[in-house]
């Protein structure tokens, strides 16, 4: 991990490169990707041979079990022959047991050897997988750096020239402040308007005080008519 991190760190620091220069050239990235692919192929192969070795081990272990069973069986036979004082038969059985025990030791040795191989293979796979994960993280680091770099260049090219988006901080702040003022003005205007439309207006105060003529009132109209006046 540290190697790529170091490289990026150095490349990004102190204006070593001009804007637009790639941090890691494409060729470098391709080689890196190829290395990851190779490692993945190696892991796949290691996993295949692991299953084979495990199958072999299971087979050998089964043979050990079978031999052990057979040995136990033969031991009872030998005991029975001895019980019948048939020393010769017992000796023959004992000979078979001895051969089986040798066989079993051989098979047991194979099991042990295969078990070691399995552990080794598993270790290799684990290491390779960690390596790949590290490589992928490194690659992501480089790729992201490149993506951000490219994105920024595109934004600068496409946006800065014909839009205010990439203006200086001062200009941005100016615009933000103007917008905030406008929003505040709008809110204040809204308050004023609300007040004018509501009860608090001068007209309604005058009406309430009976200074300014109120609305036409049905009883007043009726009274006027009764009094014989027409308008």
């Amino acid at each position: 991990m540290s190697s790529v991190f170091d490289k990026l760190w150095t490349a990004l620091r102190g204006g070593v490169r001009e804007i637009g220069d790639a941090i890691v050239d494409n060729n470098g990235i391709r080689i890196f990707e190829q290395e990851i692919k190779d490692a993945e192929a190696n892991i796949a192969a290691a996993k295949r041979s692991l299953t084979e070795v495990m199958a072999n081990k299971m087979q050998a272990a089964r043979k050990v079990d079978e031999l052990s069973q057979s040995i136990r069986q033969n031991e009872t036979y030998a005991e029975k022959a001895l019980a019948q004082n048939n020393e010769a038969l017992a000796l023959e059985v004992a000979g078979k047991i001895a051969a089986q025990e040798n066989d079993r030791n051989e098979q047991q040795a194979i099991v042990t050897r295969l078990e070691q191989q399995i552990e080794q293979l598993k270790g290799h796979i684990k290491k390779a997988e960690k390596l790949i994960a590290d490589h992928q993280r490194e690659l992501a680091l480089v790729r992201t750096t490149e993506s951000v770099q490219k994105a920024t260049e595109q934004v600068v090219e496409n946006v800065a020239s014909n839009n205010s988006a990439m203006n200086s901080a001062r200009e941005s702040l100016e615009r933000i402040k103007k917008r905030q003022e406008m929003r505040q003005d709008r809110m204040a205007a809204g308050d004023i308007l609300a007040a004018e439309m509501g009860d608090g207006t001068l007209d309604s105060k005058l009406e309430a005080a009976g200074i300014k003529g109120g609305k036409a009132d049905a009883s007043a109209v009726l009274a006027r008519i009764k009094a014989g006046k027409t308008q």
Binding site: I19, A140, R143, T144, S147, V148, Q149, K150, A151, T152, E153, Q154, V155, V156, E157, N158, V159, A165, M166, S168, A169, R170, S172, L173, R175, I176, R179
Partner: protein
């Protein structure tokens, strides 16, 4: 359709907590989407998607806009602020100070919306905080 293209369509239709999103794809080899968050649209957000993350970036200003004698102080403040600032961090990209947020590519639309709004608000705050250090 790429994830960013999909986002361009979906974001354009959404109203999230009172905000809408005005999306404009930026042309070039890298897929970049400009997003203007309503009410916070003076600082555009630029989204780009890599293998490992969705990156949302708000460009604050060029590095030379900060007073040379205040640079160290500004950098220190930015580092100190980084953890507290919700969902966003300060960074330098090329020659720009930026605030950015990174999301997993598997993020839900809701998370992306919240990221965009929070980032835009953070950028506003950051610009205001930077004002006293500007040339």
């Amino acid at each position: 359709m790429s994830q960013l293209q999909e986002l361009t369509f979906t974001l354009g239709e959404i109203n999230f907590e009172g905000h809408t999103f005005n999306c404009l794809p930026i042309k070039g080899s890298q897929q970049v989407l400009q997003v203007l968050v309503s009410e916070l649209d003076e600082v555009p957000i630029y989204m780009t998607i890599t293998d490992t993350q969705i990156l949302c970036i708000a460009y604050l200003c060029r590095t030379h806009e900060i007073r040379a004698d205040k640079q160290t102080e500004v950098h220190r403040s930015m580092l100190e602020m980084n953890v507290a600032m919700p969902l966003s961090s300060f960074a330098i990209v090329e020659d720009y100070y930026v605030v950015f947020g990174a999301l997993a590519p598997s993020s839900r639309q809701e998370d992306i919306c919240r990221e965009l709004i929070t980032l835009a608000a953070n950028a506003y705050d950051a610009l205001e905080a930077l004002e006293e250090f500007l040339n």
